[in-house]
């Protein structure tokens, strides 16, 4: 398994829909994963991941999350710590779907532009990934296979599946 190693000047900003709002994208992902045999799944919630590389400090990345990337009403955000989070059995899974570096990332380009326009240092690069938080018992290989057949295409995506907090 590969936990992403983050250099000092790479920040991953995680933006999630707050728990009180209906997550229609999560519901769609839930249905697709069930079709692929993850029958014990109870819920899927979604979010976006923004990987920003360049000269931004942690404070500036925080500011970008707050002012530019996170909706003040519906979303919450955090900087994803570089260290892996502690495990919690097989009941919760964190799935990150990133475009491979060879594939151009339109959203990433918009984000880099918006950060620069917001008065922060222009990032050297920005990439956007999808985050799926799975609630339900499963085996990692099973999750990986189901994701590769529904939410991601191994030809263009890099998928990272880790056990997660509830």
């Amino acid at each position: 398994m590969s936990v992403k190693i983050q250099a000092a000047n790479v920040h991953v900003i995680e933006v999630k829909l707050r728990g009180e709002f209906n997550d229609a994208e999560g519901a769609a992902a839930f249905a697709l994963l069930k079709e692929q045999g993850l029958t014990a799944l109870k819920e899927v919630r979604t979010g976006r991941l923004y990987e920003v590389a360049g000269s931004l400090s942690a404070n500036q990345a925080h500011q970008a999350g707050k002012d530019l990337l996170c909706d003040a009403v519906t979303q919450e955000f955090r900087l994803v710590p570089a260290a892996p989070s502690p495990m919690n059995g097989m009941n919760f899974w964190r799935v990150e779907v990133w475009l491979k570096p060879t594939v151009s990332d339109a959203v990433g380009a918009t984000v880099a532009e918006a950060i620069a326009e917001g008065g922060l240092p222009r990032p050297a690069a920005a990439r956007c990934g999808m985050l799926y938080l799975l609630n339900g018992r499963a085996v990692k290989a099973q999750v990986e296979k189901a994701v590769a057949r529904s939410l991601a295409n191994p030809l263009i995506h890099r998928v990272v599946v880790t056990e997660a907090h509830p």
Partner: protein, 807 residues
């Protein structure tokens, strides 16, 4: 100058190498060059007494690819039909082009040469139409493949003449059935996933670009499960002065739009190859619709200021084909160091060949550069001067101090060796259909309305913004509840022309039915043209002004039977064009749509022809929809019914094979269409719907449940071949050229007057009436009721089929 390729890693030594070795070298780079092509390249460089560079070989391979040169259609073919063998020198020229020249329409402004066909639309405007396929990329990555397919055809429209404004997208797909339960080879996506991804890709790119997606269709057949077909079409509008383009030596080569990265390398050559597990991942891209929207906005603003002399899009082959084409008649000198890059580690040949999306190339007189820069800057769109067009007749590409390409334009564009291929066509044995027991008419009809090939497409259509630009006056979903199956969309392009007083509109319709082609591709082609024109006529478009587009998707032309079927289809297209008096204005073909299935056996797609047709609707306020409008109105059937159940939906539902496919008689068909059009122009027609898959029964059911009125039909009144004694044949035969029409009783005689003599020849006949009770009731030949179905239930079955498999 020719200090070609100083460093040895730039070279690609081929001189003196045997064919086998060259083939291996080519395959390793996905070049898709044949032995005779390698031999021609070898001979060319032997005469020059030097080795080619890698970039030169890549440039030649791209330029000579099936994708760019359409070798199958333009190379000689030895064609054997029965005991007769003849040589076709150039299939394209002898069929589609020859027929178009024969019908000679003065309103055709640009045919076959440019990025799209162009026809006049009134005195001031012109419409450009192009349909492309993006099959292989969509098989690998459905979302990205379909999205970049839309992006590509939109750029074709931006790159036709001096650029047209896209005002309509059409999308037609062929997939395996979404409920396919069989095995699939490693790496292949399930048809359901392909469908969802393709629809989402078309949706996201088209919606973001602000182009209404309002036409198209879907065909399901398990033989498409490994090779789905994705046809993306775009119609654009431009002032007639912008149809002509010209590159002048001394013009600057200016690239606009997205940056260049390692995306989509080998797209052109890849699309000519069999789809295999070793597909290069770089051939797949996601697309950036907003980048393309920026290009669109800036380009059209610059066009109206007349700041450039020519333009083309960067598609397959990237700069190499865009600049190679623009400079074909003069020459070009390119400096790659000026190309804006996404990543800095690209090799020279990669920059030159990259297929990064959302890029266009302009030919700009030096004096206009400053103004052009200002326009693009104001839209936040990047621009770079890459060099200039010359009068050397050579394509020269430099990267810093190195010359990486120095090719004779004539060799590049005319040097492709033509190889003769074998083609064989064997007519199917005549005779009766076999297999499958008959079903009760009601049971068959209920099964047919829920069949995947005719059921409601609402699940798909609602996801497209089919009303952006505010001109969709006849929508793809029609009727009381806005959910019935319209025959074609009618577009009122006021947003583009700025003139809300002018109600000149146009319509776009389609025809496609590979099941007819399984019996005889010649009649498939005729039927497809007929269907497209029927659809246009039904909404009020002028069938005498229809322009056609052909898109052939075929398996390997190296198989003589496949190529024979292709010849047959092309000849059907020619016969249709001449018979209907409708010119082809553009077309495209996609070959090698076959792959190894899970057992390693080649699975070819059925030979598939999509005909797209476009015609003006002189006054959009006179357009007609297909829903019954009220009770007590007369129902007229136009066109003769024959025993033509071969390839029909009825046979598919019964599991029958063989039989006669529908055979079009273009002369009497166009007669009927023109008369109907005249009746519509006078306001005598309440609703009209064409008879296609499922025949009369399905047509009447759809008109009924969409308008929420019933009807009473008498089969004995159907204009028909007198040898037909079967009610089922009259209900379900798919004889072409037929349209069911609703007319107010007080308008009946005026309506019939438009048909002149044909009214007497029983080509049009009153055979029923609408009723308040929403029931489809049919009296059989023997005078008793043979079908009585509540329309509500039929509609429910018709609506439930797709959501059931897609969620």
């Amino acid at each position: 100058m020719s200090q070609l390729a100083e460093t040895s890693e730039d070279l690609f030594p081929i001189l003196g190498k045997p064919a086998k070795e060259l083939r291996a070298l080519g395959d390793a780079r996905h070049l898709s060059l044949s032995d005779p092509e390698w031999a021609a390249i070898q001979a060319h460089f032997k005469a020059l007494k030097r080795e080619p560079s890698l970039a030169e070989v890549e440039t030649i391979a791209q330029t000579w690819s099936e994708h760019c040169k359409h070798k199958t259609f333009t190379s000689p073919i030895r064609y054997t039909e029965g005991r007769k063998t003849r040589t076709i020198k150039n299939l394209f020229a002898e069929t589609i082009v020859a027929a178009t020249e024969a019908v000679k329409k003065p309103w055709c402004l640009s045919l076959f040469k440019d990025n799209a066909g162009v026809v006049a639309f009134g005195k001031k405007w012109a419409l450009a139409f192009k349909v492309e396929t993006h099959n292989h990329p969509s098989a690998l990555e459905p979302y990205g493949g379909a999205a970049t397919g839309v992006g590509g055809v939109v750029r074709d429209i931006l790159g036709v003449g001096l650029g047209a404004k896209p005002i309509l997208n059409t999308d037609t797909f062929c997939f395996g059935r979404p409920d396919y339960k069989g095995a699939l080879p490693e790496g292949a996506h399930h048809p359901t996933r392909t469908l969802r991804g393709v629809v989402a890709g078309v949706r996201d790119y088209g919606n973001r670009m602000g182009i209404p997606t309002a036409g198209g269709g879907i065909w399901f057949d398990d033989d498409y499960r490994l090779n789905p077909l994705v046809f993306c079409g775009t119609v654009g509008i431009m002032p007639q002065w912008a149809v002509k383009k010209e590159v002048k030596p001394g013009d600057l080569i200016v690239a606009v739009g997205g940056r260049t990265g390692r995306d989509g390398l080998h797209g052109a050559t890849f699309s000519s190859a069999n789809l295999g597990a070793d597909a290069p991942s770089s051939a797949v891209q996601i697309g950036h619709a907003i980048q393309e929207k920026r290009v669109l906005d800036a380009l059209l603003a610059a066009r109206d200021k007349k700041l450039y002399g020519s333009v083309t899009d960067c598609g397959a082959g990237g700069f190499s084909s865009a600049i190679g084409e623009l400079g074909a008649d003069c020459g070009a000198l390119v400096r790659l160091e000026n190309v804006p890059l996404k990543a800095t580690d690209l090799d020279s040949w990669e920059i030159w060949l990259s297929e990064s999306q959302e890029r266009m190339v302009l030919a700009v007189p030096p004096k206009s550069l400053k103004a052009l820069e200002a326009v693009f800057a104001s839209e936040g769109c990047e621009l770079a001067v890459l060099g200039e067009f010359t009068k050397t007749g050579r394509l020269v590409v430099m990267h810093h101090e190195r010359t990486i390409v120095d090719l004779d334009m004539k060799f590049l564009h005319k040097g492709l060796p033509r190889v003769e291929r074998e083609a064989v066509w064997t007519a199917p044995p005549a005779g009766k259909a076999a297999g499958g027991a008959a079903k009760k008419a009601g049971d068959a009809l209920r099964e047919m309305v829920g069949h995947l090939n005719v059921c409601s497409r609402e699940w798909v259509i609602r996801q497209y913004d089919h009303e952006v630009q505010g001109g969709t006056v006849v929508k793809p979903l029609q009727g009381v509840r806005h959910d019935g199956p319209g025959d074609a969309c009618v577009i009122w392009p006021h947003a583009a022309t700025g003139d809300m007083e002018d109600f000149s509109c146009f319509a776009v319709g389609h025809g496609l039915n590979p099941d007819y082609g399984r019996i005889d591709p010649y009649y498939m082609a005729l039927a497809a043209v007929d269907e497209a024109l029927r659809n246009l006529t039904c909404v009020g478009a002028d069938p005498a002004r229809a322009a056609l587009l052909d898109n052939f998707c075929w398996a390997s032309p190296e198989d003589p039977r496949q190529l024979g079927a292709l010849v047959r289809a092309a000849e059907g297209c020619a016969a249709a064009a001449k018979g209907f008096g409708a010119p082809f204005i553009s077309g495209k073909d996609s070959m090698f749509n076959q792959s190894k299935d899970e057992k390693g056996k080649e699975l070819p797609i059925p030979g598939t022809l999509l005909i797209s047709a476009m015609a003006p609707v002189p006054d959009g306020r006179k357009a007609v929809t297909m829903d019954f409008k009220g009770p007590g109105n007369a129902l007229y059937l136009i066109g003769r019914t024959n025993d033509e159940l071969g390839g029909s939906l009825y046979h598919r539902v019964l599991g029958r094979a063989g039989g006669e496919p529908p055979k079009v008689n273009p002369a009497s068909a166009i007669d009927g269409f023109k008369s109907l059009h005249a009746a519509m122009a006078r306001g005598h027609v309440l609703s009209a719907h064409d008879l296609s898959e499922g025949g009369l029964a399905l047509c009447a059911a759809e008109m009924g449940f969409t308008g929420e009125f019933g009807c009473l039909l008498d089969l004995d009144e159907v204009p028909r071949d007198p040898r037909i004694y079967s009610n089922e044949t009259l209900l379900f035969s798919e004889s072409p050229s037929r349209i069911l029409v609703e007319v107010k009783p007080e308008n009946e005689s005026a309506f019939l007057r438009q048909f002149g003599k044909s009214a007497k020849s029983a080509m049009v006949r009153r055979m029923g009436q609408t009723t308040a009770n929403p029931i489809l009731k049919v009296t059989g030949l023997e005078g008793s009721t043979i079908l009585e179905e509540p329309l509500k239930e039929l509609k429910e079955a018709w609506q439930a089929a797709l959501p059931k498999v897609l969620g």
